[in-house]
């Protein structure tokens, strides 16, 4: 009798272990929170010492995707002083501190390049094999369109390419958002950076090489 009960317990346990894989639920995106939080103190009164880094955080965050790419310090520095100038012309010194504080911020944000994205998409279990293949085909098609565009063809304009890129990103995100939220949020935060790589002919040529 004891043996039977032991067998039954074993069976129940083994069947219990065979549930569907639960979705890889991970904490919701954290990359967006600093951006939403920082603009609030920007409008409040002076306190220059503490406030200026926060405004510096908020504005370069929008440009950060393109910043760590290859070597665009000129672009980033050009954009960051321009914005404080419109907001308040009284603080030239804080821009210098802003420049020093931005690199760690950009490093902290989880951004992916194309290789990283490819690797993460290969690894994820949120998408099935055939879907991955199909997505890869669509990525290849899009890259082919970019090649056409840069070869001098007028047919896929940059606007059309952007639309195709956004649609493809939406497809990827819709496939990932329920089962691999971390990857979905990483892709979301890298979206503009990847577009920056594709939209720049020199960077695109470097990618193809």
């Amino acid at each position: 009798m004891r043996r039977y009960s032991a067998v039954i317990v074993l069976m129940v346990l083994s069947i219990g272990c065979m549930h569907d894989k639960k979705p890889e639920t991970q904490p919701p995106p954290v990359a967006t929170t600093p951006e939403t939080a920082t603009p609030q103190p920007a409008k409040s009164a002076p306190a220059t010492g503490t406030k200026t880094p926060s405004t510096a955080k908020a504005k370069p965050a929008a440009t950060s995707p393109a910043k760590p790419a290859a070597g665009q310090p000129a672009k980033a520095t050009a954009s960051s002083p321009a914005k404080p100038a419109t907001a308040s012309a009284k603080k030239p010194a804080p821009t210098a501190t802003a420049k020093t504080t931005t690199p760690p911020k950009a490093a902290a944000a989880p951004t992916l390049d194309l290789d990283g994205l490819e690797a993460r998409l290969k690894q994820t279990k949120a998408i099935g094999l055939m879907t991955k293949l199909s997505l890869k085909n669509q990525v290849d098609d899009l890259l082919g369109k970019f090649r056409k565009h840069y070869a001098g063809n007028a047919t896929p304009t940059m606007t059309e390419l952007r639309r195709s890129y956004d649609l493809l990103m939406m497809k990827v995100l819709s496939l990932l958002q329920d089962h691999d939220q971390q990857l979905a949020s990483d892709i979301l935060s890298s979206r503009e950076r990847i577009w920056g790589l594709l939209a720049d002919p020199t960077k695109f040529a470097a990618l193809q090489a």
Binding site: M11, M18, I127, G128, M130, T131, L133, N137, L175
Partner: protein, 82 residues
């Protein structure tokens, strides 16, 4: 004692196999549903799948559409309506 243990293990294996197979089939249906949707073909949801070869399937959708989903020699996923 060992015989009984072996017997119980066999029973467990027999019970477990269909569950694993069901899970695999559910994942495959979901995968093919996503593939068909990615190609912009009407389907809704894949309700039954026939494995023809490796990466070669016959899929029947909830709305009655049937598709042949396969990977061709060039590595492209093709969805043909049947």
């Amino acid at each position: 004692m060992t015989k009984r243990l072996a017997y119980s293990l066999l029973v467990m294996a027999c019970l477990a196999t269909p569950i694993v197979a069901q899970q695999d089939e559910a994942a495959l249906k979901k995968d093919l549903t996503a593939v068909i949707a990615l190609q912009g073909k009407p389907c809704g949801e894949v309700v039954s799948v026939t494995v023809l070869k490796q990466n070669d399937y016959g899929a029947t959708c909830k709305d009655g559409n049937k598709y042949h989903v396969y990977e061709n020699a060039q590595g492209r996923v093709i969805v043909d309506k049947q």
